[in-house]
Symmetry: C2
Subunit: 262 residues, 2 copies
């Protein structure tokens, strides 16, 4: 899979998606939008299972995930895998507050993905922290940190049920922020094994816990579609806190105005 294979319609749709995400936090200056358009034009498709970024690689090429799902993960010497956080459409990765720092974990595509480089963000890290790009970079770094902190709470203090609920609620809010939630439900295009490696449980126990949630009519699943039936109750059960950065982004969304095809 590569860029040549991407239908022109997808290219246009994904470029618009990218521009929308990048300007979510404020209007871009004219030259910034110009740079963004150029960067997005270099979008590239990659198959699921690809390592998008190797652990230890230099973090000097910011990227945006335009389509598909990926994770930040680390594989221990005996084969155990820990997933740190999920990357979903609209997420920026490959940057670090440490200039040219090494990646602490690899980025791994769960599905086929489309990514685009964002050289403008690498520039922004080096200078002009006040610009629109600077804002984007800092927001991206802040989100990553938030997700990590939430992950620590899940793994350190929560039961299997709480961990899964908490993670599903995080998916909900993040997907909602990019218009990928419809009727309280969204698509999770990966296996229970992935979920298990994220929440630190065995696949068997993840499976049973999900069944339990279905039996209690807290969630519904149908193929890859997952539906959260009573988000308020779920949030209480799992002591869920919305990521501060997402609050403003997700809040008001005019459905008629959401021109994003699902």
């Amino acid at each position: 899979m590569n860029r040549a294979r991407l239908p022109q319609a997808d290219v246009a749709r994904l470029r618009d998606f990218g521009l929308r995400v990048l300007s979510r936090r404020g209007v871009l200056a004219a030259d910034e939008e110009q740079a963004a358009r150029a960067s997005l034009g270099e979008m590239q498709a990659q198959a699921g299972g690809t390592e998008l970024l190797a652990e230890g690689a230099r973090l000097n090429r910011a990227q945006i995930l335009l389509e598909g799902w990926a994770v930040h993960q680390r594989v221990l010497s005996d084969g155990r895998r820990q997933i740190f956080s999920f990357l979903l459409p609209g997420d920026i990765f490959g940057i670090s507050a440490r200039l040219n720092g090494e990646a602490l974990c690899s980025a791994f595509a769960l599905t086929s993905v489309v990514t685009a480089p964002l050289a403008m963000l690498d520039e922004a890290l080096r200078r002009a922290p006040g610009s629109g790009c600077g804002r984007i970079v800092r927001e991206a770094l802040g989100l990553e940190e938030s997700f990590l902190v939430n992950q620590v709470v899940r793994l350190g203090q929560q039961s299997a049920q709480e961990r899964l609920i908490n993670l599903l609620l995080e998916f909900y809010d993040r997907l909602a922020a990019v218009g990928l939630v419809e009727d309280d439900s969204f698509v999770l295009p990966f296996t229970q094994e992935v979920l298990s490696d994220a929440v630190g449980l065995s696949t068997v126990h993840t499976n049973r816990t999900l069944q339990q949630l279905r039996r209690e009519h807290l969630i519904e699943t149908h193929l890859n579609q997952t539906r959260l039936i009573d988000r308020k109750r779920l949030a209480e059960m799992a002591d869920y806190r919305m990521v501060p950065c997402l609050e403003t982004a997700a809040a008001p969304r005019d459905h008629a105005n959401a021109d994003m095809p699902l």
Copy 2:
């Protein structure tokens, strides 16, 4: 406890310690060192149990911990506490890649501590990423991220024994970097309950696991002194990886010659 009570000899010692830590990564420009001296002059003592930084507070006042231990923690609604990371002498806290972002967790003094503001770093975040201060900021942010990532691995994938070993090794390397290790041993001035809240275990189980390690002659403890007897073996047992940033701290290298073989 406040600044007035700090003996003059301590003030001088801690100021020198602070200057040494701040210039670990490279020489400071003259004006930067000047600013550092001024900042360190405002050092302040606070009692153990103090909240140094509230969750949700604006992160616009960088600080350095000159003496004592603290933690980043979050308390869940039902009283469970998760410790994310430890702050030990020489550590910088109260900054974030998000300008003026909210603290995601509180900073809490485990012992009586001495801190100093570092307004120069807040400035550096806003501009001049290339300066010596910019380097310090980015290194601090990078370290925080590293510790969080390691914490996720511990909590998500490791057994009680592995978690404790791994954390102790982290303490070793971090304390060694600021000269607080002597003869493979160091002081941990806090209770097993603190350790338990960090590694996500009950105090009883933490206690038993530590005893096990002592019985196997892997560690020794005497009062608050902890001694790691066979670090190589311990590192293998717990799949420990040294934080990349700390490696170079032990053996400083010229940034331009980063490819130089060791």
